[in-house]
Amino acid sequence: MSAHSHADGQLPHEPEKATLEGRNKVLGFWLFLGGETVLFGTLFSAFLALRHQVLDGPPAHELFSLPLVALATALLLTSSLTSVFAVYALHTHRVKALIGWLIVTVVLGLGFLGLEIYEFYHYVHEGHGFTTSAFSTSFYTLVGFHGAHVAFGILWISLIIAQLMKKGLTVVTAPKVYVAGMYWHFIDVVWVFIFTVVYLMGKVV
């Protein structure tokens, strides 16, 4: 056993914050999310400034279909809930439930990503390519960056699941799960602004 294990072989309360390294990781991740907020803030700024410059391409209210966006929102929101269940399983030291909820989160994330790929494919066939107009470029950059974050999160959480299966729940693996959960919630929070600013405000004529 590693030096990180407790003498009685039991995990401490809130194992993600049991070590200084764990606490530093959580704080450092909050600062990283502050930086991510700025990144998405600038992408939103570009989109807001350019969203009416459609040239020959289809305008937002003709392009977007709300049922598709509603389904994507439901998938991502539910995956955020399942990742919070994973952190609850972490706090109650139930490794099997933790791995189970993380798998559900990854599957829901894949569903979201699949919808987005279908959506982009459909838009390109409607004449809304990346270089069609300032609106289309800023749209694909903003929504695509979010999609890339989802893809990265899926890969990251999958690797953590593999590590949990191999090493179990320790004070080393616990901060990783907690921080990945924070990342996943952040992705959902960004999506709230995307469906509001891009899709819903785009539909208002």
């Binding site: 909050w30 999310l33 700025v38 803030g41 609850y88 919630h185």
Partner: protein, 105 residues
């Protein structure tokens, strides 16, 4: 192994781990706010600027709920975390306001 399991459960009970009830309430609240936002746009008989204000208000409210409950921001020991994320929010909102009101001035 079985005795170890019950010991873990007792340990969890002693420290009063926050149950999933609050998270489910936050989820229902998020669904509700999302539904209102979509319904406002679909009904669409209201003034455009007024709809924008409602939508942005609903989004900020939902983000606040999710960050407080799901990201555990309401828990103690998050002072520097809040300072860090608020700095990001401040810079981001400056950019957004600039783009929305000054870019085409």
């Amino acid at each position: 192994m079985a005795s170890n399991h019950t010991a873990t459960e007792e340990n969890a009970k002693r420290h009063k781990v926050e149950g999933p009830k609050k998270h489910i309430i936050a989820f229902i609240f998020s669904i509700l706010l999302t539904f209102i936002a979509f319904a406002t746009v679909i009904s669409g008989e209201i003034n455009k600027d007024f709809i924008y204000i409602i939508l942005i208000g609903l989004a900020i409210l939902q983000v606040f709920v999710q960050m407080a409950f799901w990201m555990h921001m309401k828990d103690r020991g998050h002072t520097f975390a809040i300072i860090g994320i608020l700095t990001g929010v401040f810079i981001a909102s400056t950019c957004v306001i600039m783009a929305e009101y000054w870019a085409w001035w």
